[in-house]
């Protein structure tokens, strides 16, 4: 009725299971897993006998170790078992599948599962993701160990504690812990994007759904456009809207422009009105132009306010901005008249008007300027951001150097996914 010590799942699969008289009831086919505290535990053993499957509840198990498995009951006491989709079976649903090692931020494959006795139950304590697991299942663990010993080397154990395991499949969610989800959110968004890139589309979407809104928004902007669209398409409208709101409007517009028109409209309607307007403005531009690259969130003040007033306003306004380097100066009809770097502002006399420190020789482009031309201008004049204006010189937005770097050198996760 209990498991003492530890064993691997592969050590009991296909093992005979005996009744009290020592007759073979059948052979172990799989084990059913349910949520337990603190770790998931085995609730039943699935036994195969003459092509039929039977279910033996954990309470009917007498001895359970790697040499002997037996039951208190006889073969005729067990009910036939039809594999249900809702049940979680260790061999069928966990073994050989990919999971995320939240500790190492890697996608790994489950080669074996380690079980341990705990208060009379058998709990899933760790997954084996190393060479040992593969060799054990090929029946070559011991011989390999001997070979390695002969070569004066060791065969390393490579186990990931269940505490760090983040599942990629919906059925595993019921027994997953909350710890890895939190650990995942603490990773750099670029690393999360890398993880999503390493698994199939459905699994990637699954992983994404577990992230909180803020992390999800950051991770999404690191993914390549097709992947972004797929993921946003696979989650419900409300959450998609929340995530897009969290993103910079230019990035949100990029994501929306890759979606089917109907779906994009639906999400846009769910987004906060003000944010939605910003995004909508940007949606009209071709992707490979200054208009497609720019964001319409920037700082622009009238020329007659004082430096001190500008700094005061800046402290409030800059809160929602990702990064800001320049304060633009506009006239009453929002035409661009000057620009001042933050450095200029801080160094200047606080009582002077903004018009005194601003530079009036400004490089700017129109929204239909080709993206490579934008990159050339930014590179040539060593700018951190380049203003985009319409034909009347009205300031529409800015293209930052980050946006330009992404064209020249796409972020790794944007470029593609594993495999051939």
């Amino acid at each position: 009725m209990a498991l003492f010590g530890e064993l691997f799942l592969s050590e009991i699969i296909k093992k005979p299971i005996f009744d009290p008289k020592g007759e073979i009831i059948g052979r172990v086919k799989d084990v059913m897993v349910v949520k337990g505290d603190p770790l998931p535990k085995i609730s039943a053993v699935i036994v195969q006998r003459k092509g039929q499957h039977y279910l033996i509840k954990w309470t009917a198990i007498n001895i359970f170790n790697k040499r002997i498995i037996s039951s208190f009951l006889y073969a005729d006491a067990f009910e036939q078992y039809a594999q249900g989709e809702d049940d979680l079976l260790a061999v069928r649903d966990i073994l050989d599948k990919q999971i995320v090692d939240a500790n190492g931020a890697k996608v790994v494959r489950v080669n074996d599962i380690r079980l341990e006795g705990y208060n009379g139950t058998a709990v899933l304590i760790a997954v084996d993701v190393g060479m040992r697991g593969i060799l054990r299942r090929l029946g070559a663990e011991q011989s390999s160990e001997k070979v390695m010993k002969f070569m004066k080397a060791q065969l390393p154990h490579n186990l990931i504690s269940w505490n760090y395991m983040q599942p990629l499949r919906p059925e595993l969610k019921s027994i997953a812990l909350t710890v890895p989800r939190q650990m995942l959110s603490e990773l750099h968004p670029a690393d999360i994007a890398d993880l999503i890139n390493q698994v199939s589309r459905e699994e990637g979407a699954q992983l994404f759904k577990d992230l909180d809104i803020e992390t999800a928004a950051d991770a999404l902007s690191e993914l390549m456009p097709e992947r972004q669209a797929e993921i946003i398409n696979s989650i419900d409208t409300e959450k998609a809207a929340d995530i897009l709101e969290e993103m910079q409007p230019d990035e949100a517009a990029d994501v929306l422009s890759d979606l089917p028109t109907e779906r994009a409209k639906e999400i846009l309607e769910a987004i906060d009105k003000e944010e939605a307007e910003d995004i909508q403005e940007l949606l009209g531009h071709e992707e490979d132009t200054a208009g497609g690259l720019m964001t319409n969130i920037f700082i622009a003040y009238p020329s007659d306010i004082s430096i001190a007033a500008a700094i005061g306003r800046f402290k409030k306004d800059a809160e929602e901005l990702e990064s800001v380097y320049y304060i633009y100066v506009v006239d009453e009809s929002e035409k661009l008249v000057g620009v001042a770097s933050l450095r200029d502002i801080i160094m200047a006399d606080p009582h002077a008007p903004l018009s005194e420190v601003m530079k009036t020789k400004i490089k700017s482009v129109t929204p239909d300027t080709n993206d490579m031309v934008v990159a050339e201008i930014i590179s040539k004049y060593n700018l951190v951001a380049l203003p985009v204006v319409d034909t009347d010189n009205v300031l529409l937005g800015i293209v930052s150097v980050d946006d330009v770097i992404d064209i020249i050198l796409p972020p790794s996760a944007k470029r593609g996914r594993r495999k051939v």
């Binding site: 599948k97 890697k106 080669n111 593969i134 299942r137 390493q198 992947r227 790794s412 470029r415 495999k419």
Partner: protein, 410 residues
Amino acid sequence: MKRWKSFLLFLTVMGPGIITANIDNDASGITTYSVAGARFGYELLWTLIPTTVALVVIQEMVGRMGVITGKGLADLIRENYGVKAAFYMMLGLFIANFGNTVADFAGWAASMETLGMSKYIMVPIGALAIWMLVAKGSYRFVEKVLLLACLIFIGYIISGIMAKPDWGAVAKSTFLPHVKWDAEYIYLSIGIIGTTITPWMQFYLQSSIAEKGIKKEDYKASRLDVIIGCSITDIISFFIIVTCATILFPNGIRVNEASEAALALRPFAGDYAYLLFAVSLANASILGAIIVPLATAYYICEAMGWEAGIDKSFKEAPQFMGIYTMMIVAGAVVVLIPNAPLVFLMVLSAVVNGLMLPFVLVFVILLINNSKIMGEYVNTKSYNVISWSTVVVVATLTVLFVLATVFPIA
């Protein structure tokens, strides 16, 4: 991982079909077609049509799995049939593809010698260039090199047209099947199927389609791409056979290797045909030598759950870098060692390929009929009849080919 990913993404963006067509006609394929054309003239051309049909039937299923699951074939085999099936499959793939790599380096060496360059200089340069290209090269550079490499395949079509074949006779042999009860004839006709439908192509195609992230709704476009790709493969094969059949066959010249064909063409068809043939062979070989080791290392690591990626060091991804480097280094070295068992390796590779193919195809059919994986996209009943018969015929022929390779009929 990063550079490798972008490198492969580039390949897939062009349409997996074109790439498939290009790398399917590797050094050993070109050899088979050259030999077939020189030995039997146009007589074997008709085999290309059933071969194309079989190729389309099989690759359509593989492509469909890639679209629907978004996973590679190695992934699906591991997840559904366990570590043992995956392990032996990968072991077979490794042996067969090592043979392929050696064949590609041998093709490179032979074409360089044909062009008057020493293989002892060109093979190490080629191997080093391949290793550097992927491990250290800039992404954009790799992109340009491969794009150019894919275009060079047109060389075969040009040389076929330049040979001025008797198009009436070509058409007749292509569309009217003609079986000759001659051991060599049958061996070569099965050989054409064997070099066209290989296990590793199925892994390659499925992964590249999964990689491309084609949506279920766009599956029809992807199917068209597969059909066009299969056709291109065999159009190139067609022109290789036509060239050799038009020029070498009437003059009674027999060849055993693709590079011999290039040399033999020179006195009859002039320098251009010779150059086109030699350069195309060099190109096909080097393209194979780039992609085969990389893809093999990747599938194996994926199925086994090992860290993989080109920008990782030996310490971070020992298995991946080990397999990749070993295949290139050993492949190049084997070609350069005098009296190395080249023929043995080629035969071994052909045998392993032939033995693996039935298993791979059966896995493909079982997986594609699994509604848990494929949902509503499983085969229809009538399509199952077609696919099962194709698989049975192809598998039987390949096994026959293996037997004929191991026990040659005088």
